[in-house]
Structures are given as structure tokens and as C-alpha cells.
Amino acid sequence: MDVKATEHSWLLRNKLKIAPWVFLIPALAFFAVYVIEPIFESIWLSFYEWNGLYRADGTSTAVWVGVDNYIKLWDDPKFWTSLKNNLLWLLLFMLAVPIGLMIALFLNQTVSGMRIYKSLFFFPFVISQVVVGLIFGWFYNPDFGVVGSVWKALFCEETINIVGNVSFRCSSPPPDILSSPEFATYGIIAAGLWPQIAYCMILYLTGLNNVAADQIEAGRLDGAKGWRMLWFVVLPQLRPATFIAVVVTVIGALRSFDMIAIMTQGGPFGSTNVLAYYMYETAISEYGERYGYGSAIATVLFLIMLIYISYFLWRMYQDEKGGR
């Protein structure tokens, strides 16, 4: 009886200490198993050579190789191609931010039917990247696609071939964007920009909604117009929107996987690879099953992302300190 009473009061006294853990544990457990632990396991695996097999007795066939995988990475031209393409993605993907802002400015009016227009402009973001990749893949296709058809109409003449079927003879062959090592990556990035611009646009539209009207009026009284107004009065107020737009665009660029998987599989001859796709191809595609090496690539990608994560967290921390 006594014990129960003290237990009860202990619970009562500490209820504000215990309660948060009761609320937290389900989410934390889930998150730890599927996200936190695998990060460490991947980093650990990057020091092994392993084809993912277990022996007949169930023991892993992994062999400790120290930093070998990282040394190999350093000498691997495909790794550098992927890294270079990642940088290209990062750089060009940033175009989504100003273009998104421009479209948002264009659409920030109140004529009738505007709501529908805004949502239709936002449309590409809602569609799966797989579908966007397929659409653009078809768009670029030199034989069956839009680019090919336009080219045929402009530069090719219809002839009848030896067996009597219609064929085309062209003054120069149609551009084969996705098979050209020079242009394929740009072609994929252009496709990736489409939904990303829509995302940035919606961020700015929401931001513009909240721009303080009195400041705009004050600016107008000071004679600010057009670009000057945008630069000195509006943009500073849009800073939170810009911050989020940059963050999601960086993450979008580094996560680029779906489009590449759909449009080129990293080809031709690896020239459109990015780290995310190269890792996948190395670790679990038909020509892969190199878990250790793949994990080393993933670790590098993770470290790059960690820079942004740290920056983001630091910003959040500053806000938290100021907030309360």
C-alpha cells in the first residue's frame, strides 16, 4: 500500500519529465530504426568490401578494407563525372528561384479567374518526377518525339525506301539530346527545372501575399518603381520565402535521381551520372552489388548534404534563441 502510494506520487511529481518521453518514443523508435541507425551503418559499411551475400551459415561475406573504397573513389573518373554533374545541377537548379519569382510577380494580380491560373501554373510540381521524366524523354526523342517531328518537318524530306515504305532523308540528323554526352545533362536539368520553378513560384506567391502594403506605399511615395522597388523594398520582405526556396532547391538538386533513372540511366557511357544515381547503380543494379563502394559514394553525398543541413539547423537555432 505504501509502496504504491510513493510510486504514485513519484509519477505525479515527475509527470512533466516522463510525459514527453511517452509521447516521443513511438516516433523516435521508428525514426531511429529506419533513418538514424542506417546512416551510421552505411558509414561503417563504406570501410568494407561486400557484395551483399551471406555465407551458407548466415555470416556476412564482408571484408574490412579500411579506406580503400575512398582511395578508389579518388581514382574513379565516374565519381568525378558524377560530382561535376551534381555541381552543375546545383548551379543550374538555382535558376528555379529567380524564374519562380518572375512568374510569381507576373501572376500576382487579382483579375477574375486568377486562382485557377495560379493552381494550373503550380501543376507540374504535383506530378510525379517519373511522369515528368517520361514526358520530357518523349519530347526529346529524335525518332518518335516532339523534337524529332519538328526536325523532320524542317530538315528532312520524305522518301520511299527500298522495300517501298515511307522513310526520311535528312540534311543533318535530328539532335539526339539525351544520347549526347555534351547536352544530355542539360536536357535532364531543364526537365527537372519545370516542377522546381513551380515550387519556387508558389513560395513567392505566398510571400507576396504577405508583403506589407504600407511599406510599398511608402516606397511609392519615395518615388521607387519597378526594379528599384523590387530590389530595395519587396525582396527584403521576401527573404523567408527566398531562404526556403533556396533550401528546397538545393535539396532537390542533390536528390535528383528519378529523372536520371527514367531518362538516361546515367548514360550515355556514364556522362549524366550524379552521385545519387551512381550510388544506386553501384550498389544494387544488375551490374552492381558493391555495397561497400556504394556506401562510400553515399557517405560523400551525405557529407555534402550535411553542410546544408548544418547551415539550416544553425539558422533555425538562431531563430529559436530569438523566438523565446
Binding site: P26, A241, A261, A298
Partner: protein, 282 residues
């Protein structure tokens, strides 16, 4: 308002603007319109190279029916629903609890834990890939619907917790304080005081997570092998291999895959945008 409202620039500018709008929209959505136009053409048109001209015949119904009868699209579609709905339900509920804990209670590790969820949400998938796959294979979750939604639920918990915690933190703290003073139990405060207040956030999160998970392609590739557990995104890719040179069918299948998130978006537009732009305004 910026830029200056068009009405103030006179009727000419306003009419010009309203004429310009549909034109710009068509250019913006050109790829989508092109694929829709392709999806209602007949195979004969495609083979004859008639991609832009007026369709020789309209085959919309035939094409869309063919996608379902000539492939396993309906199974992929159902799989997508079976993966997406539990993912949303689990991640949102877990995040409600966790977000509540992180927003309301003051304990030393609250902020680090919160940052852990935030950071996890930004991690590249590839760093999780090998261990998650290996574990799924070993516990028998590989190539199953459950294997996919458990992962999605866990991963999306990061984003949901970030969202819920910030939302709950913005609620008036006095409400909770006064409930406590009246001796209301903690879980009752959560259930009867906080939960009703966060309903709009729940709706916003639900549509967002629905879209994210529905559109997933990477994990569908990593965690499935056969047909039986594939969602529609991976399925459309498989169809692309199966319907070689049948662009009218691939187009129709692609559009079918895109429909549910689009419907979600139009039904819940306000919530969707509120969720997506959280943090874009102060």
C-alpha cells in the same frame, strides 16, 4: 501589393493581361498538353508520325481502357493506395505526438531531438539505402507493401514532426498551462485541447505526405523486385518497357499515375499550399 495591380493601369492593360495569361499558361503546360494530346491519339497516328496535327481519330477511351486491360496498371494503382494511405496515417499520428512533446515540454534534449528529426528529413536517400534494404530482406519485409509504407512512415515522420512542432509551438501556451492547473491529465490535454486546434495542420500534412509518398520512385525500386508490390510510379516505368513505341499508351498510363495527387491538390489546395509554404512567411 506588388507589382502594382493591373486594374490601376487602365482597361487596355487589363485586357492585354487577361489575353496574355492563357497564352503564357499554354506555353508553360505545353509538355503536359502534348502528352495529353498523344494519349488520345490512335496508334496509327503515332506510327504515321502525326504528333502535332489534328488526330486522325480520337481513341481516348480505347487507350485508357487498354492501359488497364493490357497491363497490370490497376494492381499498381491499388498498391500505390495501399502504400500511401498507411504511410500518411502513421507518420502524421506519430508526428502529432512527437511534435506535441517537443513543443510543449521543456526538457534539456528537446531542441537537439527536434534538430535530429529536422536533419533526418534532409538526408539523401542513398545513405539509408543499403541498410534499409538489407534489413527489409532479412525480416521478410522486402517486396511487400508493408515494407514500403513502414519505411515511408518512418522517414516522413521527420518532416511531419518539424511541421507539427512548429505549429503547436505557435499555439497559445496559456491554454495548456491553465488546463494543467486544473489538474487535467497530460494525454487528455493532448487529446481534448491540442488536437482540435491542430486540425488544419493535419489536413495540410496529410495532403503533402500523400503527394510525396505517391510520387516516390526510388524506394519502390529499392524495396521491391516483382510486380506484386510495385506502386504506380515504378509500374509506369515498367509499362514504358512493355509498350515500346506505343507512346499513346505510355502517355495515358503516365496521366493515370498523375491523377490522384492532382485531385488531392485541387480538393485541398489551400491546405496543400499552406503546408508547402510553411516558413516562407513570418
Amino acid at each position: 501589393m506588388f507589382p502594382r495591380p493591373i486594374e490601376k493601369a487602365g482597361p487596355g492593360a487589363r485586357i492585354g493581361y487577361q489575353l496574355l495569361l492563357p497564352f503564357v499558361l499554354i506555353i508553360w503546360l505545353l509538355p503536359l498538353l502534348a502528352i495529353f494530346a498523344t494519349s488520345i491519339r490512335s496508334g496509327a497516328d503515332i506510327n504515321a508520325g502525326n504528333v502535332f496535327g489534328w488526330p486522325g481519330e480520337f481513341a481516348m477511351i480505347e487507350n485508357y481502357v487498354a492501359v488497364f486491360t493490357r497491363s497490370q496498371a490497376s494492381m499498381y494503382f491499388i498498391n500505390s493506395i495501399l502504400i500511401t494511405v498507411p504511410s500518411v496515417a502513421i507518420s502524421v499520428s506519430l508526428a502529432c505526438l512527437a511534435g506535441y512533446a517537443l513543443a510543449i515540454y521543456r526538457f534539456r534534449v528537446a531542441l537537439p531531438l527536434f534538430f535530429l528529426f529536422v536533419a533526418g528529413n534532409f538526408v539523401p536517400f542513398q545513405i539509408l539505402m543499403v541498410p534499409v534494404r538489407d534489413m527489409s530482406v532479412r525480416v521478410g519485409l522486402y517486396d511487400t507493401i508493408a515494407g514500403q509504407f513502414l519505411f515511408h512512415a518512418a522517414f516522413q515522420t521527420g518532416f511531419c514532426t518539424l511541421f507539427m512542432r512548429n505549429f503547436i509551438k505557435a499555439l497559445p501556451f496559456d491554454l495548456i498551462e491553465s488546463a494543467r492547473i486544473e489538474g487535467v491529465k497530460e494525454w487528455r490535454i493532448f487529446w481534448f485541447v491540442v488536437l482540435p486546434l491542430v486540425r488544419p495542420a493535419l489536413a495540410a500534412l496529410a495532403v503533402l505526405i500523400f503527394t510525396f509518398v505517391w510520387n516516390d520512385f526510388f524506394w519502390a525500386n529499392v524495396l521491391t523486385q516483382g510486380e506484386s508490390a510495385k506502386p504506380i510510379t515504378a509500374g509506369v516505368r515498367a509499362l514504358n518497357g512493355q509498350f515500346v513505341n506505343n507512346w499513346h499508351l505510355v502517355s495515358a498510363a503516365s496521366l493515370i499515375a498523375a491523377i490522384p495527387p492532382v485531385i488531392m491538390f485541387f480538393l485541398m489546395q489551400r491546405h496543400f499550399i499552406a503546408g508547402l509554404t510553411l516558413g516562407a512567411v513570418k
